[in-house]
Structures are given as structure tokens and as C-alpha cells.
Amino acid sequence: MNAYLQRLRPLAFLPALLLLLTVVVAEQDRTELSEMALVIGLGLDANPKGGEPWELTVELAYKQQNDSPGEKQVFTAAGGSWEELREELGKVLDKNAHWSSASLLILGGPVLETAEGKELLRSIFLDPKINGELLLAVSAEEPSQVFSASFGESNYLSAGLEQGLRLQAKTQEKQAVSLFDYMEQVLALEGSLAVPIIHLEKQEDQAEAAIAKESYLAF
């Protein structure tokens, strides 16, 4: 045994080298809390300005001090695919987007009605950083307008709408539809799914989002 270990001595540096390589690689994945932009809601629609086909809108949760309730920030980016949209958004934000806190995805009609839109949704679903349980909703207005509105007492529209959709699912026996449900029932099985509709109601000061009684039938 000792002779065997003696022969292995020249290789003693290998575990240390392996650990060093692991650390170097792991550093690529590490994100400081101060460098994170917390994305809590996403919106996808056809680009109204022309050029790139799709427009991504994100609602960020932002807090400057611990004792403040927080405020939201809304950013948009345009691109032809999910990777391009993320890349363009990275240029707009001054921090790294953190996607796992996102709880709501608001879609425009063209996303659900075209093959390219469905492919875009599939790309989003396959992104490991996106939580497949985020809820879906359809909006007649542009998602950027929806995120600029308010919903109830919540500081963040996405958080408020997510709670509203789940509450509606319990009380009215209307299913809250997630991205995973859409993938499973529509894209995989080629079935149909009733997706809730969000619309804006004009108030005195600003627009107020509301959940419509009807649902959008996606197939």
C-alpha cells in the first residue's frame, strides 16, 4: 500500500488543480446581491415600433433602503429571439437581471397566435433561469402600458396581479395558468387553454389594471 501511495505522489497536485479550476469556473456563475436587478414581471408583444419583431418589457423590484416599501422600474428591449431580447435588455439595465423571482408573464395576442410567438415561448420555457410556474395573462394593451399601471394596494403590479389571479382561481374555480401548463397542454398536446385577460381601466390619476371576467382561448 505504501509503495502504491509513493507512486501516486507526483499526482498529488491534481486534486488541488481540480479544485482551482472548479473555483475559476464557479466564479462565472456567482452574482453579488448588489449587482442583481430583480425581475418580477415580464411582458412580450410584437414590437410596435417596427424593426425587431418582438418587444420585451420587464418590471423590476427596486429598494434603496431597507425601511422603504420599494418602487418599481419598467424597462423595454427589442429583439428577434429570446437570447437577443435578453442581450438587449442587458444593455439597458445597469445590473444583471435576476429572472427566478419573476411571477407573471403578460402576453400580447400575436405571441399566442403565431408560430414564431409560440417558438419564443418555448425558448423562454427552456431557459433554466426562468421559473416555469410563472403565471400567464393576455393583455389587449401593450405590456409596457400595463406595467406602468397600478393594481390594488401593491407596490408592484406583477405581485399584485399574481395574487389576484391565484385568488380568482380559488374563488371562481377559474384555473390560474402557468407557463408550464401552456407548454404541456397547448404546445405539447396541441390542446387549448383558457388564459386570463388583463385590461386597463382609466382612472383620474393613472390607469388601473383589472382582471377581466372572460378568458382568452389559446390553442
Binding site: A26, S34, S101, A159
Partner: protein, 497 residues
């Protein structure tokens, strides 16, 4: 075992020669006293002793007075004086000069008689020692409060009060070329693991150094793995703890001048147990053991887990908490990991300062450091509040298991770095390595991580939880060859007899 003082061999019949030999050997030490006097029959004699180690009152009453009034027709010999005149408890007749001299250096009185080639040593020791009190580091709410002191004789007597059995054995060896320190091995011969006992004796024999001031020196010299992270020799400051371990088959090693007894072998679970566990009800004792285990895990893993979650696995953190943490970190100049390291170093400096300073100042420093500096650092946005809270919880958890303070301090740093650099993967990797390491450790031939690795299912009832006492009928089989320690005393059984 030990080393002998090199002096002239035989005691001379000439009193003057013996006295000159004393002066020559002691290099004119001012605390060596030589007192010439005459016995009751006119025979010349001389006593020599160490000033400060002998009770002067008892010496006058029990030593000089009977000797000076000892009348006899012929001459007195050492043997006759020891048998008929001296009424002190421990009297020995010595033939070798070196043995006599060694015993006098230990606090006995040496007596030379003119015309006699033997001498006497009499024990009337009264060296300064503190009174028996409760140790500061092993405080209990219920249970005995007395603790060991620096006198090994008193410590052995305290143990003797706990175990009144003929098999209770005390072996004494003398170690240290200059200190000549008494080291006692205490065990019960019918219970002890003889293999462990022989190993201890063999390792003690190899000790050859100038002096041993504390049991910690012996611990480092005889332990299995000098570079071990975990201590493989247990410590006991109280007689009830030491006696309990003797009755499990361990050997207790005590050093004169040290209030800390060593218990050999040691198992990992001992560091998570407390003597009070056996004096309270089993469900409360079990709960306390679980709390200590949780504290141990928190102490080691919490900073590393915090850095892993905040750096790699943010999805584990609830959204509102993540938002608060992000807001707190965004105003600090350092990254989370650097903040954690810096504040931890500051804490270690404050803790060390608090221990070394005089007690009132030390407490003030600790309070000032903990509250004022921590609060000021957060208000100045030097570190974030979540980092400070994590460190505070870790520090409090570290005080729960004092046996592993050293090891957990190093492990905490290792897991902090692993979590910071590699995330949860690093923590799992570190845990696997730690587990393997614990399973590889031995304490005098006994697996350190027993009964978890290797598994001893019978001992599981006295590890993380404490089963009712009537179910703990067997001694740990890895410690003792004599397994059964109590009869079947389950409640209700005695009623059926």
C-alpha cells in the same frame, strides 16, 4: 518512566556529610531549609524541607515536638522513629539519597539521623491552593457544582468520593526533567479497556521534556493525530463527569498543577453532550441535545450557506427577503463575502481582547465591540445588516458547544470559503470530506465517530437523544469489554417481582 535526579547514591551515616550533600545539590536556594536539632536521647538529627510547602504549625506539633521528646536508652534508627515516635499519616523510610531528595522537592520533610544510613520522609504538606469551586466553563443548573483544582491529590480524593470500589485504581508516574510533575492514571480495573490503558502508558513513557505545566501539554504529546482538527482526548473539569467516564471504561489522566483532567478515549458525540443531560428528564435532555446539534450545524454552516444562497442560489431566498438583502448590499462598498470575512476577523480580535483583559474591562470591550461597533458599522454602510445578523447568530451558536470551539472556528472558515466560491456544491463537497475525515479519526484505537461510523446501533440511544436511563443498560462496547452496567430497571418491573 520519567527521569531521576542524579545525586549521590547512598545516605551516609555521618549527618554532616548528608547536610553538605544537600547544600551542594540545591545551589544555595533560599527556600531550602536545613534545621539541626537533637532527639530526646541527645542524638543529633537534621530536618530539611521546602519553605512554603510545609505546614509550619503541624510541623512543630507533629514532627519536632515528638522527636525532641523521644527518650531512649540506646540510639534511635529511622525505622524505630517511624514506628514509635512520628505520628504523622504518611511516613516512609528511604535508603537512596535521590528518592529522598525527590520527595522533599514534592513537599515532604526529610529527616537525617546521625549514625543511621537510612532517612525518613514525612508528609505534612500544606502548599497554597485555591478552594474547590464551580468551574466557570462547565456551569450546570442541576447537578454537582464542585470542580477540580490544581492539586492532583485533592482531585484524586474527589474522584475517590464518587467511586467507592476496590477496583478503583490510581497509578502515579512522574514526568518532566525539572518539573518532576506527578501524573495520575485513574480507572476501574474491571471495566477499563486494557488495550487503551497500555497505549497510554507507552506514550507517557516516551515523554522526555523539561516540564509539564498543564494537562494540555500531555494531551498534545500523546494524542493519536497531532494535526487533527478535532480533539481526540476529552477534558473534564468536574469530578462527576470524570467519574461517569471512568465508569464507561475510560481512563482519566490528571496532572498535578492542572485543574483539567483528560479522559481517554474520546468520542465525537461527547462534545455535543453535557453532564446535566443525565440529571434531568429524558425528553428535556433529548431536546437539549438536539438544540446543541443544531447549534453546531449553524455554527459551521450558516455563514457559508448564506454566501452560497446569496451568490449562487438566490431562488432559495424568499422574494421579500431577497429584496431587502439586495437593498442592504447595494449601499455597502464590499462584496458580501468580503464583508463577512472582515467582520469575522474583527469579532475574533474583540473576543481575544475580551478574554485577555481584566474581567471588568474585558466585559466592557465585548459589549462595546458587539453592540456599538456593529451598529455603527451598519449605520455607516460599511457592512449590511443581514451579514451582521448571520454573524451574530453564528457567534451565539458557537458558545453552545465549548468542546469544539477550536475545530468549529476552522471549519466555519473552510465552509465559508467553500460556500462563497462554489455555492451549495462546495458545501456538499466539504461535508463529504468532513464526514470521511471524522470516520478516519481514532482515539487510542477507538473509532472517533462511533457509534455513527462504524455503526453501533445499541449506542444510538445515548447520542443525539437520550433514552430513558433504564434503557441504557449497556456500556459503550467500543469503550469497555464489560458491557452491562445496570440491571433491568424498567418502570413497573419491580412491582411484578
Amino acid at each position: 518512566m520519567g527521569s531521576r535526579i542524579e545525586l549521590k547514591k547512598q545516605i551516609s551515616r555521618n549527618l554532616e556529610e548528608n547536610i553538605q550533600a544537600i547544600y551542594a545539590s540545591t545551589a544555595a536556594s533560599m527556600d531550602i531549609v536545613v534545621r539541626r536539632f537533637r532527639l530526646g536521647n541527645g542524638q543529633e538529627a537534621a530536618a530539611f524541607f521546602i519553605d512554603g510547602l510545609v505546614s509550619k504549625d503541624l510541623m512543630g506539633r507533629d514532627f519536632f515536638e515528638p522527636l525532641m521528646h523521644a527518650k531512649k536508652e540506646g540510639i534511635w534508627t529511622a525505622e524505630l522513629l517511624a514506628a514509635e515516635v512520628i505520628h504523622s499519616g504518611e511516613v516512609n523510610v528511604e535508603t537512596e539519597f535521590s528518592t529522598l531528595f525527590e520527595n522533599v522537592l514534592q513537599g515532604l520533610i526529610g529527616l537525617f539521623i546521625d549514625g543511621c544510613s537510612t532517612a525518613i520522609t514525612i508528609e505534612i504538606i500544606s502548599w497554597p491552593q485555591r478552594s474547590i469551586g464551580e468551574p466557570e466553563t462547565d456551569v450546570v443548573i442541576r447537578g454537582p457544582r464542585e470542580g477540580f483544582i490544581e492539586s492532583v491529590r485533592m482531585n484524586v480524593a474527589l474522584l475517590r468520593r464518587k467511586i467507592h470500589h476496590p477496583d478503583f485504581t490510581v497509578e502515579t508516574v512522574r514526568l518532566g526533567r525539572y518539573s518532576q510533575t506527578d501524573v495520575c492514571l485513574v480507572y476501574v480495573s474491571s471495566i477499563v479497556n486494557q488495550g487503551v490503558l497500555q497505549k497510554i502508558k507507552q506514550r507517557l513513557e516516551k515523554i522526555d521534556m523539561d516540564g509539564l505545566m498543564d494537562s494540555g501539554i500531555i494531551e498534545q504529546l500523546i494524542q493519536d493525530t497531532p494535526f487533527s482538527l478535532f480533539p481526540t482526548i476529552g477534558v473534564a473539569e468536574k469530578p462527576d463527569i470524570a467519574a461517569s467516564r471512568i465508569l464507561e471504561g475510560r481512563v482519566v489522566l490528571m496532572l498535578d498543577g492542572s485543574p483539567i483532567a483528560l479522559t481517554i478515549p474520546m468520542l465525537f458525540v461527547e462534545g455535543l453532550q453535557n453532564s446535566e443531560d443525565y440529571y434531568t428528564r429524558f425528553y428535556y435532555a433529548s431536546w437539549l441535545r438536539l438544540v446543541r446539534f443544531i447549534a453546531f450545524v449553524l455554527n459551521i454552516y450558516l455563514p457559508g450557506f448564506f454566501l452560497a444562497a446569496s451568490g449562487f442560489h438566490q431562488q432559495l431566498i424568499p422574494f421579500k427577503l431577497l429584496l431587502s438583502m439586495s437593498a442592504a448590499e447595494s449601499v455597502t462598498p464590499f462584496s458580501t463575502g468580503v464583508s463577512m470575512l472582515l467582520i469575522w476577523i474583527v469579532y475574533e480580535i474583540l473576543r481575544e481582547a475580551g478574554v485577555r483583559l481584566p474581567r471588568p474591562a474585558g466585559q466592557a470591550i465585548s459589549i462595546v465591540g458587539a453592540i456599538v461597533m456593529g451598529d455603527a458599522a451598519v449605520n455607516a454602510n460599511l457592512i449590511s445588516a443581514p451579514v451582521l445578523i448571520v454573524l451574530a447568530v453564528t457567534i451565539v451558536a458557537s458558545f453552545v458547544n465549548s468542546a469544539y470551539t477550536d475545530a468549529s472556528s476552522i471549519l466555519r472558515l473552510c465552509f465559508l470559503l467553500l460556500g462563497w466560491l462554489l455555492g451549495l456544491f462546495g458545501l456538499f463537497l466539504g461535508t463529504a470530506i468532513l464526514r470521511l475525515y471524522l470516520c478516519s479519526l481514532e482515539s487510542f484505537g477507538t473509532p472517533f465517530f462511533a457509534p455513527f461510523g462504524p455503526m453501533f446501533p445499541r449506542q444510538a440511544g445515548d447520542t443525539m437523544v437520550r433514552m430513558p436511563l433504564w434503557l441504557l443498560r449497556f456500556r459503550p462496547s467500543e469503550l469497555s469489554r464489560n458491557h452491562r452496567r445496570m440491571a433491568d430497571m424498567a418502570p413497573g418491573k419491580e412491582d411484578k417481582r
